[in-house]
């Protein structure tokens, strides 16, 4: 660049004629843009390591898990010949003999490859009772070929039952809504519509309802216990308020596991809670508080109370006492002033605290696992159980999917109405 050319450092040029000044301004703003671009790039680079790490350690696992809810190629992979044979079948009645022969061949292949048990298990998830039937049929097919194999297939009534082939055909579609529907106690019927499963097979809606009810009960309990305490802390002198707030923060800083452990000790049949109830005469006999719904709700309320209380308190703290005085001086009775002046201002804090507690309760796992009985397990416990005990990843994924949708929807409401700033972490 020659010295005569206007450049961003050539300041005297700005003082010259208009056209030159325009050109200068342009080059200045171009330089500014370049510099800003560099700044942006630098901040992106600074944030990149954590964002990449989170994508790897958190993002991909979640996406992978959720995809298992709708994508399940195990049956299609295990039954390639059957998949082809069923391509032209209209789903009515029984398929042609070719399909039976293809299934016989596929079953034999699986037996040879040693994958018959895996197949039996995944068929069983969609077709109750299929596990034993597959293993039985495989044994029958061992020395049978051609016509003999076909006859062996037909000799097992299970393969000619009306619900068997639609389920197999459904299973050969790798992309499936089967598990998501199952998680809501629904299924496809033979006519291609969606129907509820028979009541004796329905399990999950009950679990979702239970999770919601427990979350609602805990939220209500934390509000009843937390609101008055927050009000008291916000209205006493500073020194006393500091002491009271420590009483709220000490349990808040203790881990969920440790507090659940403390409650298992307290709720024992010969534990302190029962001692106390007997002592003051509320109960005439020792109650079974462990492995019960009431024990679970007590422990969860203890853990969630600070989550509800702290947002309410942080709003109450900002309300000037002079407002209440003004209300009194205008002739309002204490309750009227409380209801008309105080409550409306506290409402956002109450919403924030209650929503936060409700959202967190939906995902509870440790406390129900340790304190709840068999009929108090929440949706998270079912997810863990499908992974640890049933080894049914698809079902765990579908339940996770639905739990996550509820959680994110509620959190969306939270962020929309109250803003992310209310989500105080510290």
């Amino acid at each position: 660049m020659s010295a005569l050319q206007p450049s961003e450092v050539d300041r005297p040029a700005l003082a010259r004629g208009r056209p030159a000044a325009d050109a200068d301004l342009k080059s200045v703003s171009a330089a500014l843009r370049r510099a800003e671009f560099g700044d942006r790039l630098r901040s992106l680079l600074l944030a990149a390591p954590l964002l990449i790490l989170l994508a790897l350690s958190f993002g991909i696992p979640i996406v992978l898990l959720l995809s298992r809810a709708v994508y399940d190629p195990t049956i299609a992979d295990a039954l390639p010949k059957t998949t082809v044979a069923l391509a032209g079948w209209n789903g009515q009645g029984l398929p042609v003999d070719d399909a039976f022969a293809a299934l016989a061949a596929d079953l034999k292949d699986n037996q040879v490859k040693g994958t018959a048990y895996e197949l039996a298990k995944s068929l069983n998830a969609r077709l109750p009772g299929a596990r034993s039937q597959v293993l039985k049929t495989v044994r029958k097919l061992e020395n049978a070929d051609g016509q003999a194999a076909l006859e062996a297939m037909k000799s097992v009534p299970f393969w000619s039952a009306p619900s068997t082939w639609p389920a197999i055909r459904n299973g050969t579609h790798s992309l499936t809504s089967f598990y998501l529907l199952s998680a809501l106690d629904m299924r496809w019927n033979a006519d291609g519509g969606i129907e509820r499963v028979p009541p004796e097979q329905a399990i999950f809606l009950q679990v979702f309802v239970r999770t919601f009810l427990v979350a609602a009960a805990v939220t209500l309990a934390t509000l009843l216990l937390g609101f008055p305490l927050a009000y008291l802390i916000a209205s006493v002198p500073k020194g006393l308020a500091a002491v009271l707030i420590v009483a709220v923060l000490l349990p808040f800083w203790t881990s969920i596991l440790v507090r659940t452990a403390a409650w298992t000790v307290l709720l024992q049949k010969f534990g302190l809670v029962n001692d106390f109830l007997l002592f003051i005469g509320i109960a005439s006999d020792r109650l079974d508080l462990m492995y019960s719904r009431i024990g679970l709700i007590i422990a969860m309320t203890h853990i969630q109370l600070p989550f509800t209380l702290l947002p309410i308190y942080s709003v109450m703290r900002t309300i000037q006492p002079s407002q209440m005085k003004a209300a009194y001086s205008l002739g309002a009775k204490p309750l009227t002033a409380f209801r008309r002046v105080y409550l409306p201002q506290v409402f956002p804090g109450v919403m924030a605290g209650c929503l936060l507690t409700f959202i967190l309760c939906l995902g509870y796992y440790i406390t129900p696992a340790l304190i709840g009985g068999a009929s108090d397990q929440l949706i998270s416990n079912f997810i863990a159980n499908y992974v640890n005990v049933e080894l049914n990843w698809e079902m765990a994924a579908a339940l996770s999917f639905i739990l996550l949708v509820f959680t994110l929807a509620l959190f969306g409401i939270f962020a929309r109405i109250l803003g992310l700033d209310r989500l105080k972490l510290v």
Partner: protein, 275 residues
């Protein structure tokens, strides 16, 4: 405050009831976390008051037996690893986010916070599924990675808060004085935001040290942490050793979090502001 200028009898009664109610709530809050402490010094094997006698046998069991020792060791390895990574990367990210020109701040922040909102079982099961494929299941690295996701939001938020009190002109001044960006960071910015960084580190440590669900899915028998030993102990047989372990964990968490909160408060004060 509570009373109207001329309190009636009814109002006085209401306030008395408020105090009684609040006293009961505070008992409800404090008793459960205080009860394990005396029980952990009980010489008997039952959770019954009055104590049979004082003894430190349960602490000797927790600190002295191989099973618990290895759990404590695993907990420390995982928590220190998590703290190191989450604090380093979280601080860098907080610095980036504190720049108003950072593109997509409104998208990045909710994404960063999402590990706190997603139910932890989903995180744990997903990690197990993915890490098993890439060979990270049953490794310390896998547990540390998963814990970093849970802990880093605390670091980002605390450091970001301490950066709101940081005057960026100081960095310009350092640059004009000839400091390279890295020198300016270590000599000017870091000392000023250090309370926030240390507080974030303490939060990260406690998050990892107290976590049990992810560990339950990712750890093999050799990697059981202290919370996991407690969880298993609570399920199988209730031994007073649990109360000793709980007391130790509680003491560590509370001490670290008190320090973290004091530091966070100090870090948010504007450096150089009139006291």
């Amino acid at each position: 405050m509570l009373l109207s200028p001329f309190p009636t009898l009814g109002e006085r009664i209401r306030i008395a009831l408020l105090w009684i109610w609040c006293a009961l709530v505070i008992l409800f809050l404090l008793v459960p976390i205080l009860i394990p402490v005396p029980l952990s010094f009980n010489s008997g094997a039952f959770f019954i008051f009055p104590l049979e006698g004082l003894s430190t046998r349960w602490y000797e069991m927790v600190l002295g037996t191989q099973r618990w020792q290895s759990a404590i060791g695993n907990s420390l390895i995982v928590a220190f690893g998590t703290t190191l990574i989450a604090t380093t990367l979280g601080t860098l990210t907080a610095i980036a986010l504190s720049d108003e020109k950072f593109p997509g701040r409104r998208i990045v922040m909710p994404l960063l916070l999402s590990p706190l909102i997603v139910p932890v079982v989903i995180t744990a099961v997903g990690s197990y599924l993915f890490y098993a494929r890439i060979g990270l299941a049953s490794t310390y690295a896998g547990i540390i990675l998963a814990h970093t996701a849970l802990a880093s939001p605390f670091v980002v938020v605390t450091v970001a808060a301490s950066l709101t009190g940081f005057d960026r002109n100081l960095m310009r001044a350092a640059a004009i004085s000839g400091a390279k960006p890295l020198t300016a960071f270590f000599r000017v910015m870091l000392p000023l935001i250090l309370p926030g960084v240390l507080s974030g580190a303490a939060f990260a440590f406690v998050t990892s040290f107290d976590e049990v669900v992810v560990v339950q899915f990712l750890a093999s028998a050799g990697q059981r942490t202290m919370p996991l030993e407690m969880f298993i102990g609570l399920r199988e047989k209730l031994s007073p050793a649990i109360t000793a372990a709980a007391t130790l964990m509680m003491a560590l968490s509370i001490v670290l979090l008190v320090v973290a909160n004091l530091l966070a408060r100090r870090g948010q004060k504007r450096p150089g502001a009139a006291a």
